[in-house]
């Protein structure tokens, strides 16, 4: 029964008590039972219950497979001698001798012999044998054509390939190649590329994909396994928010909390009333905020901080939201049940006013190509205009609510809005198909992910729900922790690859969750009033902005960054940089 191998060097041999031997015979790992064993004995082979040798502490890696993929990796890296040496020393050949003969025959172009060898490999699936034969004979055919041995090629096609009865449409294509020398040169056909026979090593690769992996080890298998592990580590890393964190194989990947914005770097005090909404531009160079004070402000984002660029004060009602044009050159501002204004970001000029007599606008959005404006109105309809104000379409009926967000997906096809208290409408405007997200609780706001595949929905009961909106909407995750009782609170996606969710809250804190694990990783104090809206800079995963009833906007950044900023400026008590509007 299982135990230590006899041919091991004496230094490694351990004395085992009878009890340990008994435990071993039950199939448990040596690592746990042998006293004083160190981690470097992990590669010691054991007997698994199936009788095959295993390596690793969990006893799931089969030694033969492990050695074979290492040998394959060595060969791929070009270390032929090392690979051969490993095969010899371990006594585990990478490929059986039949397969070695097969591979050599393919590379040397001994087609007929290789087909014979193929049958000797010991494959059980008739279909695989036929498909592999087809590939080999196809190569023979194409190479013959390349050498202009047309009649030989035709003979191969007729007598060897067709009888396989595999892939008749490919047979058609091959027949047309026979006449193609004069045909291909005159026709601009994509077939011109496939006419040239692929290289023999490419053929070998394709054959290896066809054959079972136990017969021929797939290319790059070890690399694939390692990448899989790295990706899993990265996805499990809750604070992963930085591009320059390279992954090392030496230790498991684990970011520190310092990658998440958690320090208020600036306080922007230009609004004279509650700030309800804010959003960074797509390129992250600007920030737009709108307020109960009936104005919107465009801020410019610099290396050293955020400064006021324009104050847009033409509305006569509080501004409910703003929307950046896809190229960030223009901004839409929406007065609550009032009009929509379109502004030029650089000059601060109002370019157009969109209104509909007798009705008021409640939301605004752009089409992804920047040609059209969408708006929700207070008669529950949604309208679409050209930039010059010409109304193109109007979807009447219960399409939106007086308090509703409006989003257009990145492909321009879907309009998203809250159509009923507990329902979100996903309207495909071309196909005229409606899909719905149905919740049990009233919905207060929502936010669309950058890739337009996910929707973050804020509910009355203080939960944030993440929905996958591709195909039939599916609920993916729920986030809790923030407070919402009376007002509309908004949340957003953010960080590297939008791996985080941020939200405002009525308890004046900014909340940040890790999207995948749903863990609450930060709750940031600082504001002295309800935080209504947050926006994460799409171009800078370390910058977050929050808007509050305390009339300020806070810009949050990394902890260590603020320390270096502090050195450049006159000392403040807590390192926070104030910015009063009107530079």
């Amino acid at each position: 029964m299982g135990g230590v191998e006899d041919d091991e060097p004496a230094s490694k041999r351990m004395k085992l008590s009878s009890e340990e031997l008994r435990r071993l015979s039950n199939g448990s790992t040596i690592k746990e039972t042998v006293a004083g064993s160190s981690g470097d004995l992990m590669a010691r082979p054991l007997q698994s219950e199936g009788g095959e040798e295993v390596v690793g502490s969990k006893g799931v890696i089969k030694k033969v497979e492990f050695v074979r993929i290492i040998a394959k990796a060595l060969y791929s890296l070009g270390y032929i001698k090392s690979g051969a040496h490993l095969e010899e020393e371990s006594g585990i050949p990478l490929h059986s001798s039949v397969v070695n003969v097969f591979m050599r025959q393919i590379l040397e172009g001994n087609w007929d012999e290789s087909v014979v060898t193929l049958h000797n490999i010991g494959l059980t699936d008739e279909k695989t044998i036929k498909s592999a034969s087809f590939l080999i004979l196809e190569q023979k055919f194409l190479e013959l054509l390349g050498e202009e041995k047309v009649m030989d090629a035709l003979k191969t096609l007729r007598t060897e390939i067709v009888p396989l009865s595999v892939d008749n449409s490919r047979v058609r294509e091959l027949s047309s190649y026979i006449v193609s020398p004069s045909y291909c040169t005159s026709v601009q056909s994509p077939k011109q590329d496939t006419l040239r026979a692929r290289s023999r090593s490419k053929l070998l690769e394709e054959l290896q994909k066809l054959l079972p992996p136990t017969v021929m080890i797939p290319e790059g298998r070890l690399e694939h396994l390692v990448e899989q592990a790295l990706v899993l580590q990265r996805d499990a890393c809750m604070f992963h928010n930085s591009m320059d964190k390279e992954m090392s194989l030496y230790s498991d990947h684990h970011c520190g909390r310092d990658q998440i914005p958690s320090q208020a770097l600036q306080i922007l005090q230009a609004h004279t009333d509650e700030v309800w909404f804010l959003k960074f531009s797509h390129d992250g160079k600007y920030l737009a905020s709108s307020s109960n004070d009936q104005s919107a402000i465009i801020w410019e984002v610099h290396e050293t901080g955020v400064s006021l660029k324009h104050k847009l004060s033409s509305h006569d009602k509080p501004l409910s939201s703003v929307s950046w044009s896809p190229n960030d050159h223009q901004l839409l501002t929406c007065g609550a049940e009032e009009v929509i204004r379109r502004w030029d970001v650089y000059s601060g000029e109002c370019l157009h006013v969109y209104e509909k007599t007798g009705l008021g606008m409640v939301s605004c959005g752009w089409s992804p190509d920047g040609k059209w404006i969408f708006s929700g109105l207070n008669d529950n309809s949604i309208c679409m205009w050209e930039l010059d104000g010409k109304e193109l379409e109007c979807w009447k009926g219960q399409r939106t609510l007086k308090i509703s967000d409006l989003e257009i997906t990145g492909d321009g096809k879907h309009i998203i809005s809250i159509c009923r208290e507990t329902e979100i409408l996903l309207l495909d405007r071309e196909a005229k198909v409606e899909r719905f997200i149905e919740e049990d609780q009233p919905i207060t706001s929502f936010s669309l992910s950058r890739d337009s595949r996910f929707l973050l929905v804020n509910l009355l009961n203080q939960e944030i729900h993440l929905w996958n909106i591709e195909g039939d909407p599916k609920l993916v995750s729920k986030y809790r922790g923030h407070k919402r009782t009376r007002f509309i609170i908004r949340s957003c996606f953010g960080g590297l690859d939008e791996a985080f969710i941020a939200s405002g809250s009525e308890d004046s804190l900014v909340y940040i969750w890790h999207r995948g694990t749903r863990e609450l990783i930060e709750s940031l104090p600082g504001h002295s009033g309800a935080v209504n809206c947050v926006s994460w800079n799409p171009a800078n995963p370390h910058m977050l902005a929050s808007a509050s009833d305390d009339r300020t906007i806070r810009i949050w950044g990394l902890n260590n960054l603020s320390r270096s900023v502090k050195q450049k400026e006159p000392r403040h008590s807590n390192g926070i940089h104030y910015c009063n509007g009107g530079t």
């Binding site: 096609l157 027949s175 047309s176």
Partner: protein
């Protein structure tokens, strides 16, 4: 028969009309001797070169039907120059008939050469590419009758090509390409269908000439 016979017994039919219909059918299908007898019996007038052309057309049709496309092409060129140049689809179909013949007689090398010389120039135009591929694929099979393109070897296909050729020659000489008889039958069937649908009758089968004639 669901239409009251009394309704159409009032309609007068001119004998000359009936003669024309029969004549057009005979001429279209090159029944030369029958045409001659018919003219003799009814006293109809026909231009004299009509019969000569009919004879030539008949031979062309026969060659095409047998699969002897080269001969058919040769005679067509003599009878109606430029016809095949103007009807490239037809020309292609005729050439492919010859190719099929060669393949059926297992003359593969000849077939290949013929295809390379005559058929591949058509491949410059996208609409011929698919047809060309179909035809070329025949080469791959040792038994073309068992290939997926076996319909190219069938009598129906040859008949279809021969008919197209016949119509093209008639059109070239400014004669009607469809016989009056054919058109009348087609029209009747369509009209009957429409009427049936309008009256909302559940008629599972479309109008059948056979049944009509029997009743």
């Amino acid at each position: 028969m669901d239409v009251d016979p009394r309704l159409y017994e009032q309609m007068a039919v001119n004998d000359n009309d009936i003669h024309s219909i029969v004549m057009s059918y005979l001429v279209h299908n090159c029944f030369k001797e029958t045409v001659e007898s018919f003219i003799a019996c009814t006293g109809m007038k026909q231009p004299s070169d009509h019969l000569e052309d009919m004879e030539k057309r008949k031979r062309i049709y026969q060659f095409a039907l047998e699969g002897n496309a080269l001969r058919a092409i040769e005679l067509t060129e003599q009878l109606a120059t430029n016809l095949l140049e103007k009807n490239k689809d037809l020309h292609f179909d005729l050439l492919s008939l010859h190719f099929v013949e060669l393949v059926c007689s297992r003359k593969c090398t000849e077939a290949l050469e013929f295809a390379q010389m005559k058929l591949t120039p058509f491949g410059k135009e996208q609409k011929y590419v698919v047809k060309l591929e179909d035809i070329m694929a025949l080469l791959a099979y040792e038994e073309p009758e068992k290939s997926p393109m076996f319909h190219l070897l069938s009598l129906e296909y040859r008949q279809h090509v021969a008919d197209s050729l016949n119509r093209a020659i008639l059109a070239h000489a400014n004669h009607p390409t469809y016989t009056a008889m054919e058109r009348l039958i087609q029209q009747t069937a369509v009209v009957r269908q429409c009427l049936n649908q309008e009256h909302g009758k559940d008629v599972p089968q479309p109008f059948s000439l056979k049944d009509f004639l029997k009743s």
